[in-house]
Amino acid sequence: MLAIVAEGLRKTYGTKKALDGLNMTVPSGTVHAVLGPNGAGKTTFVRTLATLLRVEEGRARVAGIDVAERPAEVRRRIGLLGQSAAVDEDLSGRQNLELFGRLYHLGARRAAARAAELLERFGLSDTGRKPVQAYSGGMRRRLDLAASLIIEPQILFLDEPTTGLDPRGRTEVWNAVRSLVGGGTTVLLTTQYLEEADQLADRISVIDHGRVIADGTADELKGKVGGDRIDVVVHEAGLLPAAAAVLAAVPGAGAVELDEDRRSISAPVADRMDALNHLVRALHEAGIEAEDLAVRRPTLDEVFMQLTGEHR
């Protein structure tokens, strides 16, 4: 059963192609991440699926229903978390959720019960009459998420759910999203962070200029883009060639990149722990002291470098 099917979606704003023949299928009950830089068409795609934008060319079906032909029926089955927290700042969390519940035609009593249930579930029960204005970024986002879950949607759209949040807020939202999975909800989320896609999604589609340029599971994608990377910073630029030779000799290491300004070298590695282990020993034996040493996920820029051969 497919929750989302997009076939050849096109949308232009003036001369800019926001969507350029975008195809995607998402099976029910999975989490699918759409990864791409600013302006890649992520938001346009989500807004099209959520019936906020008219389909210009191509077809989109959500929960098996054509979004252009029967938008009202699609709306009964989806939840949307937009880029900014779409809640009323002057009202309390409970008032917001009750308002949305009534607009979903739950009736006053069920709307109140559902609001209480969601506040409890997202750890907001003790916010009382406090207006949303006084919430932290993470709390606001959790309330926003709760508001998009009032009808237990079959499909939930999350448009850059953690952009602008501090690390703590990000963890809060990640935990909230994880708690949804298993309930059978299909989640489509957009993000600029490979780490976020890796953490949350079953499958990832990388999009650029309004079309999918790569997709697969996080592991498949990491295979394509070289997986984790190791960075080494040395005391002086003169040590870089020697350090680069050491890093290149580490089993499973890919092409080493040098950055003289930052006195650093960087390379993709196959097995992060194994590579780190080798590297530390080899640097020690070569008498090179590392000022800094880090294992990290590739940045979006590096992913694009690998996939398209060009910097964004």
Partner: protein, 262 residues
């Protein structure tokens, strides 16, 4: 969408605004007190030096002008609220829900008209307190209030239209500043005859002047003795102007709202 749900959704959206007032009573008090403060300032600080063209008490001239100004300035509140909801994505959320989309605008309209009725009642009370009176029949007084609310209704749709165009709360300020010269180039505070040539003509044809003159006439207040065509047909213009504004702003606002999906 059945009419029943359309009504229910519109009422829910209206209640959202009422809940806001309940949460921020001081905000509501300040916005209601602002025109009262203006009235007092103009009546007592400036009014002593003002002469009404054709004779009469300045306070009697001023109060209908202030009532018109209060209605016209309602545009700002409507525009700000719409721009805020749009800018923060609240309108997007409503549009992604299985509710009647038009309820977003209808709820805003009902709430703003209710606020204007309250504001009008307070201003009439303040006018009575500083010595203004109506001298005509109760029917004329109601007709005057009807004209005032008609102007507010036209301003409501202008505000919705502008709010949808502006779309960002930070741009609202620019429009707010422009409201002032438009308001002052009317007969709200002084008769257009006392203004320099072309400005007097602009003020003569200002929709606010038409409503102010008609309302003064219906209340039996002074300052309706203008001799221009516009001044002599103030009643007609006080009905026509808001209808013309509505005929432009309503379809434009509706098109803009539908165009959000473009």
């Amino acid at each position: 969408m059945s009419p029943r749900w359309w009504l229910a959704d519109s009422w829910t959206m209206t209640r959202r605004e009422l809940a806001r007032w309940a949460r921020h009573p001081w905000g509501a008090v300040i916005s209601l007190a602002f025109p009262v403060m203006m009235l007092v300032m103009f009546a007592f600080f400036i009014g002593g030096g003002m002469q009404v063209a054709g004779g009469g008490d300045y306070k009697e001239f001023l109060v209908p002008g202030m009532l018109v100004l209060t209605m016209a300035f309602g545009l700002e509140g409507t525009m700000t609220a719409i721009a805020q909801d749009l800018g923060k994505g609240v309108i997007d959320r409503f549009r992604s829900m299985p509710m009647a989309p038009s309820a977003v605008l209808v709820g805003r309209g009902v709430a703003d008209m209710l606020e204007s009725i309250v504001s009008l009642a307070i201003m009439i009370g303040a006018g009575l307190a500083i010595g203004w009176r109506w001298h005509g029949s109760p029917a004329s007084a109601f007709a005057a209030i009807g004209l005032l609310l008609l102007l507010r209704f036209a301003m409501l749709w202008c505000g919705i239209w502008l709010g949808l165009i502006v779309g960002r709360p930070d741009l609202v300020m620019a429009v707010q500043i422009l409201v002032w010269p438009v308001a002052f180039s009317s007969s709200a505070f002084a008769s257009p005859e006392t203004m320099p040539g072309w400005l007097g003509t602009v003020a003569d044809w200002n929709p606010m002047t038409a409503t102010a003159t008609a309302v003064r006439d219906l209340f039996g207040n002074p300052g309706v003795a203008g001799t221009s065509w516009a001044a002599e047909h103030a009643h007609l213009l006080a009905v026509l102007w808001p209808l013309v504004l509505l005929a432009i702003a309503f379809p434009m606002a509706a098109a803009r709202f539908r165009g959000l999906s473009r």
